[in-house]
Amino acid sequence: MKKNVLLVLIIILSLSFLYGCSSNDEVVLNVYNWGDYIDESVLDDFTNETGIKINYETYPTNEDMLVKLTQGGSNYDVVFPSDYMIEKMKKEGMLSKLDKSLIPNLENIDENFSNLEFDKGYEYSVPYFWGTVGILYNKNMVDDKVDSWDILWDEKYKDQILMMDSQRDTIMVAQKKLGYSMNSKNVEELEKAKELLIAQKPLVLAYVGDNVKDMMIQGEAALAVVWSGEAYGVMSEHEEFGFALPKEGSNYWFDNIVIPKDAKNKEAAHKFINFLLDPEIGFRNTDYVGYSTPNKKTFEMLDDEVKARKGAYPSDELLENFEVFLDPGDFIEEYNRVWTEFKAAN
């Protein structure tokens, strides 16, 4: 029996040695980004230019990213959370302050983005992309005018509607339709939004994630709630689609670049951020992902057709009823409860 214990100890010890050997001095930057959110050839260019290797991983939602970051076992140097998530991570002390002297390209960013509610003056984050949420519709299947969330509650389009399988985005639609703020901390308003979503359930074909583009292209549904970039991705290849921002207002959002507090390669991370803010690199990424760029020099390089996209670069008056998600703090429990109850409803 004693021998046995010894054997186990030896195995564990030798394994830990092996593990120890695998790390060496070469800098590898761990980048954690949304799926399909960068022109991946840019990563190779960065490695060629700086000699820093990149380990690139992706996540589907902010919530997935947060779970992975808080539950440990991962060591990311550069992450791309959205507005309300940055606010939350900031509150919880998960972010590292940026050294702006290492990011000279910051001057390329439009001044309008320097004073965003969740992070004023680029203290912890710099803008990567921004966009809106609206309704993508198939003109061959929809003959009404699409300019309001109401169409998603129209019996006529039963089983032809796709909603997002994402908590805040979907609750937001109901809140806006009811004329509430999407950052409401009023339980009654949330309950009403929940009832509205439950009432909509029989009309909805499915609650989907990244596959929404394919499903719309294949003609599985007529109407879908999508992010602006996805809509223009579909529309640039298929003429039968349109994209509308509802008049009741909607969400406009920012995905910014941050460095987590416990990142191992902060210097390389700053280099990478500066690289991404380069106008040329920004152009390649914008061209690939189709979202709105906050980089004014990149914007100037875009085609006029792209610059004129109302859903991507909306005028100020159109944005009047639009809001940015804020972190509801502990009130998130109520959002979680409402979402779970809505999901569990028959």
């Binding site: 919530e63 779970v67 089983d159 074909l205 499915a206 779970t340 109850e341 999901k343 569990a344």
Partner: protein, 278 residues
């Protein structure tokens, strides 16, 4: 000594990967996170929440659906196992391989394939459109049920088949000699002797069906939420491991009760001298 010795890796394995995780899940389920310092505090609130939020409905829905899937698997699987067991050896082997063949492919891929088949412009609807029909097949409860039956049917057929194969032909011949017709032979000899296979088939279909979340997610389109989906949401999206653990414990207790019930059946049968599965 050797016997004692050789069991140690398994003991270590079970402690590391079964006992410790179980203890962790139960601990999580019996506590909540203190919002101020993030420490775990003992509380029953997760279980109270389960009752308050009427999640009982979701549990019942999952059980009903899994139960239906099990029944369909028996209806489809039992005759299939009988046909297979009566075949001549060569053909039988080939058919068994054919039967298991789809399982060589990934379970997710096979479920995705059904999305293509059932979709609005999918294979079935293309055929139906020839007679001017278009049905909503995908993203319904029926689609989820189909996915369960399709994925778990082999787990019903194989154990029944193994048991049927082992039944001593002399019993059947003796019954026939004593004047029993085919139906009586099945009722009095074959069916009772195949009980162990049937029971293990039921457990092997019911258990994964009641806890699945992938099938309901893909074929139910996020509309058909089962207890497995609720658990997945708590862990991956809402970051509430405590409530998720409580849901898992409730499901585990439920399955345990079900197993105990089924095992009792099995025991009664053993006394009558049934054929063991293994």
């Amino acid at each position: 000594m050797l016997k004692k010795y050789s069991a140690t890796p398994y003991v270590i394995w079970s402690i590391l990967f079964i006992v410790i995780p179980l203890i962790l899940i139960v601990t999580y389920s019996l506590s909540t996170k203190n919002p101020i310092n993030g420490q775990l505090v003992f509380s029953f609130s997760n279980y109270r929440k389960f009752l308050e939020l009427k999640f009982i409905n979701v549990l019942l829905k999952s059980v009903t659906l899994a139960f239906k899937a099990t029944i369909i698997c028996i209806i489809l699987g039992y005759p299939m196992a009988m046909i297979l067991s009566k075949m001549e050896a060569k053909l039988q082997k080939k058919l068994i391989v054919l039967f298991i063949l789809p399982m060589w492919m990934n379970f997710l891929m096979r479920t995705y394939a059904w999305m293509v088949i059932l979709g609005k412009n999918g294979f079935i609807n293309k055929l139906l459109s020839m007679v001017g029909l278009n049905l909503n097949l995908l993203y319904t409860r029926g689609a989820v049920l189909l996915g369960m039956v399709y994925n778990f049917l082999p787990f019903m057929v194989l154990p029944i088949f193994t048991v049927l194969l082992k039944i001593d032909n002399n019993y059947i011949e003796a019954a026939e000699d004593l004047g029993a017709d085919k139906l009586t032979v099945f009722r009095k000899i074959i069916f009772p002797l195949s009980m162990p296979g049937l029971i293990s088939g039921i457990t092997m279909v019911f258990m994964p069906a009641v806890s699945t979340f992938v099938i309901s997610n893909l074929l139910g389109g996020g509309k058909e939420v089962l207890i497995g989906n609720l658990i997945e949401q708590q862990f991956l999206v809402l970051n509430n491991w405590n409530f998720g653990s409580a849901l898992s414990v409730i499901l585990m207790i439920f399955i345990l009760v079900f197993m105990a019930f089924i095992n009792k059946f099995d025991k009664d049968n053993d006394d009558k001298g049934g054929v063991g599965l293994w």
